[in-house]
């Protein structure tokens, strides 16, 4: 899977959780309190299923979830 495909899939998952956000332009989803911790729980479950990764408490930091780019980077790291 290319990185662009990965980002596309992540955006799809995010839109399923809340479709009122423009994920392409947001870079502070957590810092600006756009996504809350309940949304993050759903997101983590979906990411784990989709990419067959294991997200642990250690990965639960804002810098991993602030943008689609950040999430893709985390997924890539966890897939390696």
């Amino acid at each position: 899977m290319t990185k662009d495909e990965m980002k596309e899939k992540i955006t799809e998952i995010l839109e399923d959780i809340d479709d009122s956000i423009d994920y392409a332009s947001e870079e502070h989803l957590i810092d600006d309190h756009i996504l809350d911790s309940f949304a993050i729980i759903s997101l983590v479950g979906e990411l784990e299923d989709e990419f067959d990764i294991k997200v642990s408490a250690v990965d639960m930091v804002a810098s991993n979830f602030n943008s689609v780019d950040d999430m893709a980077q985390m997924v890539e790291r966890l897939m390696a």
């Binding site: 309190h33 809350d36 911790s37 309940f38 729980i41 759903s42 983590v44 479950g45 784990e48 299923d49 997200v55 642990s56 408490a57 250690v58 990965d59 639960m60 930091v61």
Partner: protein, 509 residues
């Protein structure tokens, strides 16, 4: 020596600043540590040993953990021993008598164990706060997000930096530790900005919170003598008092640290503009919320058991049920902990359960809410719904704070019941409010003071920072505004004859 009192503001803090300035940069961390431990000793005398003991314990465990690879069993075991030791001490100091009381109550119902005498245990100042910081340090080291610190002084300052001793904020090791030992030179700008922040904190605490204290004390002590409307007012008054007091003290704390060039995390972000209970807790006592989220909520939701359930529930019952149940699973320990952390009282536990139920309800009703907006075509961002949600959240906050402040759960429940009886709105103007130990002048100061803080918060909510604007003004204008604030505190502050000395509320937790 509370942060709002003259011995701290006029003697201790200036003395530390001078000593810090006179010390060579490389040794300034020792000046800060000596000052911090002296401050602790002045507050809690020989109970300083608890803090020193905790520091040595955590420091050595950090070093020991470093010897084992990440995720290895010995590393995890050492972290576990550390957390058990830290919470064990906190439980012993704060909760022993609570548990003895429970055993005695159960015993008097037939088991025969009902005569265990209570223990006389002295509680060191700030133990609830530095314990959470110590646990945070151990977990961050265990997870590999922070390295084991070889500098004992830095660990000691992280746990005991004097402005944070009494009421936090509960910092994360990575956010403050390095700053504490940098020996940054004193800068006039930092001292000026820190001093203004301190005066602003004094304004909130001394004009509003300490003045409200008399009325709050009267209402909560004699609640049986008041009818519903006055009881409802007690919740409003206490919420206001607690906000002005706690956020005011945080201004003093953060301002004190700022003078040394140290940036502590913020604990409040205009909480009364929250539109939901969940949002309120992201804006109120932020560092406690972040601690609970980082070290309880996320570890529970990312645990194997939770993930297994999540997977199963999503397949079997759908995403909605999975999300709601996982939320409940993670919120329950968070809110039980939050309630108990405040102290060994049933009303604190009830307070935790109260928010647990409300937050879970918000999650459960999310689709109903979405459906409502979709069906009616109403915009959730319209000013009407915005205001409606803020006012609804106020009701939730006021009710919660009433239970929180009540003299026991029984009293809290009785007060809540009485709100629905004999609710006379006329209490607002028939003179009842003037029988609470406050006169019309006091209320005028409270209303004007609150209005000032409201405007300040409103501007901040709009991303307009008053002190940044003020600092861009010409010198006479700047000084005039600062003088106004100082004179307001000196002239209208509730202190001296006619006022009771008010202890810091959160220092008691």
């Amino acid at each position: 020596m509370a942060y709002n009192q003259l011995p701290y503001l006029a003697i201790f803090l200036p003395a530390v600043l001078i000593a810090y300035k006179l010390t060579p940069a490389a040794y300034r961390k020792y000046t800060l540590l000596a000052s911090s431990w002296i401050y602790f000793y002045l507050c809690s005398q020989y109970l300083l040993l608890y803090l020193v003991g905790t520091t040595v314990f955590v420091y050595l465990l950090g070093l020991a953990m470093e010897k084992f690879p990440l995720k290895s069993a010995p590393r995890k075991a050492l972290c576990g021993i550390g957390i058990a030791g830290l919470f064990g001490t906190l439980l012993y100091v704060k909760y022993t008598n609570f548990f003895i009381k429970i055993i005695n109550t159960i015993g008097s119902a037939g088991t025969g164990w009902h005569n265990i005498p209570g223990l006389h245990i002295l509680v060191p100042i700030g133990i609830s706060f530095y314990t959470l910081e110590a646990v945070s340090y151990l977990l961050e080291v265990d997870w590999g997000r922070a390295g084991s610190d070889h500098d004992f002084c830095r660990v000691a300052l992280f746990l005991g930096f004097f402005p944070q001793t009494m009421e936090g904020p509960i910092a994360r090791y990575q956010d403050t530790a390095m700053q504490l030992t940098q020996g940054e030179d004193l800068h006039l700008n930092n001292i000026r900005d820190g001093a203004i922040r301190i005066v602003w904190g004094l304004f909130k605490k001394m004009l509003i919170a300490d003045r409200l204290n008399t009325a709050v004390g009267t209402l909560f002590t004699n609640y049986t003598q008041y009818h519903g409307s006055m009881i409802a007012i007690s919740g409003v008054f206490y919420a206001l008092q607690l906000y002005m007091e706690f956020s005011g003290v945080m201004d003093i704390v953060i301002g004190s640290a700022q003078m040394f060039g140290i940036k502590l995390p913020e604990n409040f972000r205009q909480p009364f503009f929250s539109q939901t209970a969940a949002e309120f807790w992201r804006r109120w006592h932020i560092t406690l919320g972040v601690w609970c989220k980082t070290y309880i909520f996320y570890p529970v939701t990312t645990s194997d058991a939770a993930k297994k359930w999540n997977k199963f529930a999503r397949k079997k019952y759908g995403k909605y049920i999975a999300k709601v149940t996982i939320s409940a699973m993670a919120l329950a320990p968070v809110w039980m902990f939050n309630g108990l952390w405040h102290g060994p009282q049933w009303n604190y536990i009830f307070y935790g359960i109260y928010y647990l139920v409300l937050l879970e309800l918000e999650e459960v009703l999310e689709p109903v809410k979405k459906g409502f907006y979709k069906k009616t075509g109403l915009s959730k961002d319209s000013w009407f719904w915005h205001l409606f949600r803020i006012l609804r959240t106020w009701l939730i906050i006021f009710t919660g704070e009433m239970f929180f402040r009540a003299n026991g759960l029984r009293a809290g429940l009785a007060m809540f019941r009485s709100i629905f009886y004999q609710f006379h709105i006329s209490s607002m103007w028939d003179g009842s409010l003037l029988k609470l130990g406050l006169d019309a002048w006091d209320f005028a100061v409270i209303i004007l003071g609150t209005a000032t803080v409201f405007v300040y918060d409103l501007l901040k909510e709009k991303d307009i920072h008053v002190w940044e604007l003020v600092s861009q003004k010409k010198t006479p204008v700047r000084w005039a505004l600062v003088y106004c604030l100082v004179f307001a505190v000196v002239i209208f502050g509730a202190y001296g004859a006619g006022y009771q000395k008010v202890d810091l509320i959160y220092a008691g937790f």
